[in-house]
């Protein structure tokens, strides 16, 4: 009888753990590369992430060029490549080189573009 209760409890524990693990994995998958790797850090800076986007837009205009410029910067950030003002760089410095691979970087940049692009938003 005691053994039976033990097995039952053990099974219950394994099941709850499995459920928790599944939930964890799902959350992990749902949080995109962009949310996890970009927003997470930018939240800490008082300048919101969209301001960078408009800076890029101001300088590079088209989707292709903006995306390329962001990627180029992220892969090897430097003061020469930044679109931000000197005062901003002096205060916050240059970010570190990205650890994301090409595919992840593309995904993140695509999502960034889709979030703030002008196309279809003007009224």
């Amino acid at each position: 009888m005691e053994i039976n209760v033990f097995i039952k409890k053990a099974l219950q524990t394994i099941f709850s753990f499995g459920l928790f693990l599944l939930l964890l994995i799902t959350t992990e998958v749902q949080a995109s590369v962009y949310t996890k790797n970009c927003i997470a850090c930018h939240k800490e800076i008082p300048v919101s992430i969209d301001k960078y986007f408009y800076r890029y837009l101001l300088k590079y205009s088209s989707e292709k060029k903006v995306k390329h410029a962001i990627k180029y910067y992220l892969q090897n950030p430097s003061q020469e490549k930044t679109v931000m003002a000197d005062a901003f760089i002096n205060r916050f410095g240059i970010k570190k080189k990205t650890k994301l691979n090409e595919e992840q970087l593309n995904k993140a940049i695509n999502e960034y573009w889709e979030s703030y692009k002008i196309f279809g938003k003007l009224k």
């Binding site: 837009l57 205009s61 989707e63 009224k123």
Partner: protein
């Protein structure tokens, strides 16, 4: 076989041909030049109009770009595209992708600065900074086309005046160019007219007197001489009549009557017998009786005379002339040297002669053609070298 033209070839025919040829060339050239000048003027006026509009559009675009800048800065708060009652606008990114547009026409030429299209004027401005990603800002204003109707009117008036002026110059040039040709033609015509006039009396005297001589009472030698004089006089008389016909043709009224063509043919053959005998040419007659034609007797005789005269002139010694009359046509066929195909076309040209070895002025067939034209007779000449020439005159 060649269907010959019935057209009257008058003295001014070549003159007219040259005149028409020169004038069409000249007019075409003038029109091309005027079109070119009009086009240049149109382009110039259009550019002038556009540069005037451009000043306004430049100001509009500066204002518009300031509003774009404000929208760019505050895009998180407002997404309302700046509009203006004075103009319509659109923005394109550097890949020429449309970002937003209020334009009437969707087709824009981003490589131009200012241009007209479909009753609108477009002005393209590239701002220094690409607010909202706009590399190209296009402003559009309505084109009232007032400038166009003004230019159109101006061009129409000036080209008309220009064309009239050019026409006068052309006419003057033409007169200058054809003067030598006209002089030569007039000289020839005048010469023939004068000669004709002067020949009248002596020829009449010779012909009348030769006819009056009774050759039966003369000795054979003298009779032969008289016969030669008769032939010569008849030849000269024939040429004289041809020339009279040509020079006075338009002044002679036709006295048409119903004539027996067969009878006339016999008469004319008889008239030419002496001439034909010299070359030992035999006439073969195949005449249908009672073929009636409503025609002037002199003109029919002239027509037949010329054809028979040619048949004798271009025949060989001991040749023959076959004359056939049917209900609706008659043919005169010789056994002469024939005419080359390429020369058949030119037969009716006045003063054209293909065989300089025989006498003549080259006016015979010209007269034939004029008579045929007057009486709606169809004339066909077919010829084979060394076999002979066949002239067929038919009517309906």
């Amino acid at each position: 076989m060649l269907a010959l033209k019935n057209s009257v070839i008058d003295l001014h025919h070549s003159e007219k041909k040259t005149l028409i040829g020169f004038f069409s060339l000249y007019i075409t050239l003038c029109i091309v030049i005027l079109i070119f000048i009009s086009f240049v003027y149109y382009k110039f006026q259009k550019d002038l109009m556009l540069s005037e509009k451009r000043i306004n559009l430049q100001n509009y675009s500066n204002e518009f770009i300031i509003r774009l800048k404000q929208l760019h800065i505050n895009f998180d708060k407002s997404q309302v595209y700046p509009r203006d009652t004075r103009f319509k606008s659109a923005i394109y990114d550097s890949d020429k992708q449309l970002i937003f547009s209020t334009l009437k026409s969707s087709h824009v030429q981003l490589d131009n600065i200012v241009y007209t299209s479909n009753k609108t004027i477009h002005f393209i401005k590239e701002p220094e900074s690409y607010y909202l990603g706009a590399r190209y800002v296009i402003l559009e204003i309505e084109d009232d086309l007032e400038w166009f109707s003004k230019i159109e009117q101006e061009i129409l008036i000036f080209t008309s005046i220009g064309l009239i002026f050019m026409l006068f110059i052309g006419y003057w040039l033409l007169q200058l160019f054809i003067k030598p040709m006209r002089d030569a033609m007039h000289l020839l015509d005048r010469f023939i007219k004068d000669t004709t006039h002067e020949l009248n009396t002596p020829i009449s005297a010779i012909v009348a007197n030769v006819e009056m001589i009774d050759t039966s009472n003369l000795d054979e030698k003298l009779a032969r001489k008289i016969k030669r004089i008769d032939i010569g006089a008849k030849t000269v008389s024939n040429i004289y009549q041809d020339l009279t016909y040509l020079t006075l043709n338009h002044q002679i009224m036709s006295q048409n009557e119903y004539l027996d063509v067969g009878q006339i043919l016999h008469q004319r053959v008889e008239y030419f017998t002496t001439l034909a005998n010299v070359k030992h040419i035999a006439f073969k007659m195949n005449i249908k009786e009672d073929v009636i034609l409503f025609i002037d007797v002199k003109k029919l005789s002239k027509l037949i005379d010329n054809l028979i005269s040619n048949a004798i002139k271009y025949n060989k010694i001991n040749g023959s002339i076959q004359i056939t009359l049917s209900e609706k046509n008659f043919t005169i066929e010789d056994s002469g040297k024939g005419i080359k195909k390429e020369q058949l076309d030119l037969l009716y040209e006045r003063y054209s002669r293909f065989d300089k070895s025989v006498g003549g002025f080259g006016i015979g067939l010209n007269i034939v053609s004029m008579i045929c034209k007057e009486y709606n007779l169809n004339i066909h000449i077919s010829s084979e070298i060394s076999i002979g020439t066949k002239v067929d005159v038919s009517w309906k």
